[in-house]
């Protein structure tokens, strides 16, 4: 279950954030993650950030996507 996608925080105001995925922006809630910052990549589920990715996590994701051809 549970569709969640990586998105980038582009605006932040308390618990409210604007996150972006492929140029599409959506208002979201970041109260479930610790110390959100602009530029962070988060995992977005039903309008909530449920996890923050470190830079290494983002890189691992990019590697997975780049080598998708199996």
């Amino acid at each position: 279950m549970c569709l969640a996608v990586p998105a980038k925080i582009v605006k932040l105001n308390g618990n409210d954030a604007i996150v972006e995925i492929e140029g599409v922006r959506r208002q979201s809630n970041v109260s479930l993650i610790q110390a959100p910052k602009i530029g962070d990549y988060v995992l977005l589920h039903a309008g909530f950030a449920i996890q923050k990715w470190s830079e290494a996590d983002v890189q691992e994701f990019n590697e997975i996507m780049a080598t998708i051809q199996m």
Partner: protein, 358 residues
């Protein structure tokens, strides 16, 4: 890198030799495996069964009946995730109820339902709280916020369910003929990998938490095969970019604050002890079960003849079911395995059609 994964998967499968049945617990894995064509890449002796992990599909008739009864009350707006619309109740689905005049609206997030309540104080906004541990904290947040900000016209009809209890209960109804669990990635973001330790201990089979890209799933299957080949059974995380041992403690705390454990009914599996979440009394003002006290849930007539439970456990095939393809079809589903467009029965239905055409 990916070729290496596939190569290792094939070689491990060869070493193991016997048929290996794995279960992906999570509906989104089922969906992703289907969309990416992963199944067609698996070694011949490795099969992937779809488990009970689609919260929409396992939502039972009586919850839908209750939601529809509430929808018929004056000034009520039912808000829901889009995939709930087609799930059958004992009399009709929400899609039918909407066509008959009920005000049913699809939202992307429970936040949207809460905002709707703020914007339309004259309406009673009821959100259908369906989902596992990933979704539960998001709904918990809106309930807490509604109480704190005094949004009196927002309530949640709660049918949240928890995965580990369902995984523990799986063999209770009969044999569990599976050799490994591919555990849900996003549920695990919240509950943490440690939550699977009792399951691993109970069933003595590998539990690997997987991400949702094809490469993630292939890597997780390889990790399971590696454990099987080495006669191991432990909890491992493939989806390390999102999942930790402890999980998201903020979200866990929020859930325990708003919800408490309860028994829950699963379509196809029956009642599983402690596998549900109900809203605590402190938040009763936002619990639709309590704000519409005159509407009583009617015990649902069981889906007579449906063998969903056995199919979910991997002991029977859709073709063994008397309803399959007759009373139960993708356009008029009865059991959870047909409700999900990628459920075991729906997939069999599709592939049978293809084979007939061949």
């Amino acid at each position: 890198m990916k070729n290496d994964i596939i190569k290792e998967m094939l070689s491990l499968a060869g070493t193991i030799g016997r048929p290996v049945k794995l279960m992906e617990v999570c509906g989104t894995h089922t969906m992703a495996a289907f969309r990416t064509g992963l199944r067609s890449l698996l070694p011949e002796n490795v099969s992937l069964l779809s488990g009970p992990g689609c919260p929409v599909c396992v939502t039972p008739n009586d919850f839908l009946d209750l939601a529809i009864a509430i929808a018929e009350e004056p000034d009520v707006v039912i808000t829901t995730f889009g995939d709930m619309l087609k799930v059958p109740g004992s009399r009709m689905s929400l899609e039918h109820a909407k066509a008959r005049g009920a005000d049913v609206r699809v939202v992307y997030s429970p936040l949207d339902a809460l905002n709707m309540a703020k914007e339309q104080p004259g309406k009673k906004i009821v959100f259908l709280g369906v989902g596992f541990e990933t979704t539960a904290p998001t709904v918990a947040w809106t309930i807490k916020e509604a109480l704190q900000s005094g949004v009196a016209n927002y309530s949640v009809l709660c049918a949240h369910k928890t995965i580990p209890e369902a995984m523990l209960a799986l063999p209770a109804g009969g044999d569990l003929r599976i050799d490994g669990f591919m555990c849900p990635g996003h549920v695990s973001v919240i509950i943490g990998a440690k939550a699977y330790e009792p399951i691993c201990a109970r069933h003595h089979i590998p539990c690997v938490i997987a991400g949702f890209e094809a490469a993630d799933m292939a890597r997780a299957i390889t990790m399971i095969l590696r454990q099987i080949a080495g006669s191991q059974a432990k909890v491992e995380i493939e989806y390390t970019r999102s999942v930790t041992m402890e999980g998201n403690v903020t979200a866990q705390d929020l859930c325990s604050e708003v919800f408490e454990k309860s028994d829950a009914q699963w379509r196809g599996l029956g009642t599983i002890p402690d596998s549900g979440l109900k809203i605590r009394d402190k938040y009763a003002a936002h619990d639709a079960q309590k704000t519409f006290p005159e509407i009583k849930p009617t015990p649902s007539a069981s889906e007579h003849g449906c063998i969903c439970g056995d199919i979910l456990r991997g002991v029977k095939l859709p073709a063994d079911c008397p309803l399959f393809g007759r009373k139960c079809t993708p356009s008029s589903p009865i059991g959870a395995c047909m409700v999900s467009s990628e459920g075991t029965c729906a997939a069999y239905f599709k592939y049978t059609r293809r084979d007939k055409k061949k």
